[in-house]
């Protein structure tokens, strides 16, 4: 499962499709599990009429969580030492997201990765970094 330092080099990439056609139900599941019940994520009426957005949109943390799934599938379970992101665009129901980790360097048993998640139009929705222990 875990990555081997000797087989990694700067520029290596790992990509996963995080979600196709993101459903409102998935967003509701995230609200329930995380405890973030902000109506802009689940309440279409409020979001259109009060918040002023065209529809509900995903929690940034849902995108970060799904991107984290790509990372743990790549580096192995319990291997992350750091993971941080900026949310650069909103994610909407119907979006399809792809996420890529790129090796920046490998030093002292740690791989440093840059992380990007984009939507079906190629727009960046999340950018960040991660670090993980490697063998």
């Amino acid at each position: 499962m875990a990555l081997s330092a000797t087989s990694l080099k700067a520029g290596d990439t790992y990509t996963e499709c995080l979600v196709e056609d993101l459903s409102r139900t998935q967003i509701v599941m995230y609200a329930g599990a995380s405890g973030d019940y902000n109506p802009v994520h689940t309440d279409e009426k409020f979001t259109k009429e009060i918040a002023g957005y065209p529809s509900v949109f995903a929690h940034g943390m849902l995108t970060m969580g799904m991107t984290g799934r790509m990372l743990t599938n790549y580096v192995g379970d319990g291997r992350l030492t750091k993971y941080g992101v900026r949310f650069t665009s909103q994610v909407w129901p119907g979006d399809t997201l792809n996420s890529t980790a790129t090796v920046v360097d490998v030093t002292d048993g740690i791989v440093n990765l840059s992380v990007e998640t984009t939507n079906q139009d190629g727009a960046l929705v999340l950018s960040g970094y991660a670090a993980a222990r490697v063998d």
């Binding site: 499962m1 875990a2 995080l18 979600v19 998935q26 599941m29 995230y30 329930g32 599990a33 995380s34 405890g35 973030d36 019940y37 902000n38 109506p39 802009v40 689940t42 309440d43 009426k45 409020f46 979001t47 259109k48 009429e49 009060i50 918040a51 002023g52 957005y53 065209p54 929690h59 940034g60 943390m61 849902l62 970060m64 969580g65 799904m66 984290g68 799934r69 990372l71 743990t72 599938n73 192995g76 379970d77 319990g78 992350l80 030492t81 750091k82 993971y83 941080g84 992101v85 900026r86 949310f87 909103q90």
Partner: protein, 165 residues
Amino acid sequence: MAADKFPVEGSHIMMFARSIADDNQVYYDADYAKSTEAGGVIAPPTFAQSSAQFDPNYFLRPKIGEEWFGSGKEATSIKKKESSGGGGGGGGGLHAEQHFEYHRHIGPGDVLTAEVKPGKTWEKEGKRSGKLVFSETITEYRDQNGELAITARGVGVRTERPVDQ
């Protein structure tokens, strides 16, 4: 999210993993997890954010007997006019950044505390949403032995108006 007691539970981890569409058995199958390097069920990397469930004052959760700003019959159930704009997230602002540092990985049986410390605040002029006010919080998650398990840094942003699409 400040919490005096954040018990990490297997069923909560399973629900959280489902919510991020992660079917990795290490998040729900104790027998399988025992056979892995993790040594047991662990939580996904962003699970600590669900400490919101254990923050008694978390403002993005409806509370019994209190007004809630989401819709009922009307688009918002808040009767009185809110004092100022500060829109964007419609009450909650938007999440701009989130960072985690893992000192160790948490799992069922851990009972964490979450202590929130204010960080920096700064302003920026946004092209798509007017003035942006950013504020940072640092959350330290400590385990039942007082050891630091996760350090989280979040940045929230309040926009002058909804972000142009």
